[in-house]
Symmetry: C2
Amino acid sequence: MARRNDHSREELQSMAIDAARAIISQEGIEGVSARKVAQKIGYTVGTLYQSFENIHDLVLHANAFTLSELLAELDVAAGASRDPQQRVLKIAETYLRFAEGHERQWAAVFRHSLPRGHIMPDWYQARVDALFALLENALRTLAPRRSRQSIQLASRTLWSSVHGICILHTGDKLFSDSIASPQALLQSLVKHYLHSWLNEGKSG
Amino acid sequence: MARRNDHSREELQSMAIDAARAIISQEGIEGVSARKVAQKIGYTVGTLYQSFENIHDLVLHANAFTLSELLAELDVAAGASRDPQQRVLKIAETYLRFAEGHERQWAAVFRHSLPRGHIMPDWYQARVDALFALLENALRTLAPRRSRQSIQLASRTLWSSVHGICILHTGDKLFSDSIASPQALLQSLVKHYLHSWLNEGKSG
DNA sequence: AGCATAATTGAACAATGTTTAATATTCAAG
DNA sequence: CTTGAATATTAAACATTGTTCAATTATGCT
């Protein structure tokens, strides 16, 4: 029996989250089970249920970690380019690269669904909001005079679209023939959407 | 014991698929289980396994049905508008409306993942390809002189983007504040992307 | 009617999430 | 240092999952 003070409650939590992340990255989210996580950290299932409400709770923590990693990379990308338009493209490309490089982790974030009736916890929603805010800020510097509403509309349109391109590219491979690379799709999207969006009002 | 000739193999299959679809539309894909489907059609689990390889196979058939429904609605939408650009928007809006109106069915299509190593069957991939072809055709009539490659690139970019908007709108409600409606996002996307795409080469 | 074929069942298996009584460990008080 | 209260941990149990398969039952042909 593991001694009580071998690990604090916090240590145990982060050990479990790490274990879950390891399983996800190797076998995908379907491979995660309470017993497997417990065995990986040298405890039994019951102990897990003292730190996590249920298995969804544990997965949610693992996914939050993934979101934080993603946010960190996007933050770097957002700061790298001088040209604001290049910055938007860079963000999109970094998002795609992350999805490719952490395919199972990333899939886990968007495949996982909470049990019915449960709502997303604040600490999780906060991470998601931070992602959206990132692109919103990039657009704000790109078009400082546009209204808040206009910028929100554009940033969400772009974000959803980039997300859609990544979704359809990774994993399920919905496109049977791979003539157009996802990078090309991103480039086409950002270029054309921004081109028209930036000229809106000027010539119409 | 159900008599052998009560239902032919084909009848049994379609009964099972209908049952699965009913469960999906009521409880979502997580609610589908072999026993529940079997009980709904008045047979036992074992019988299901004579018509379907495994539970994923059954879900796949249910999802294919959903794709066919979607394709039918999109076909109508594509024929409704005279103006080719309006047609593209109409397709996108119809896609969104379908996702909203058949939320669980639609989520089942994109949440379901095959067991590792299994590839998507041809009869399923064919339905997916038909969806893509629909938008591709709309773009072809919109810009008949563009190269095949250019049209493929644009149609996939648009399709992925529309898909992304629908994904982020339904179910998980990733946008915590709902200032911009998904319809507004679609409109913004189609309008701006097409505007720039159509003028490409003319002014640059 | 009897027989071969095949559909259907029911029970079994391992693995899943989750709960809980029993046990082991720690820490503080005497 | 011992005792006892508090609590971390375990092991076993439960229901439910997907899947298989020998046994049973219905069918159709001779």
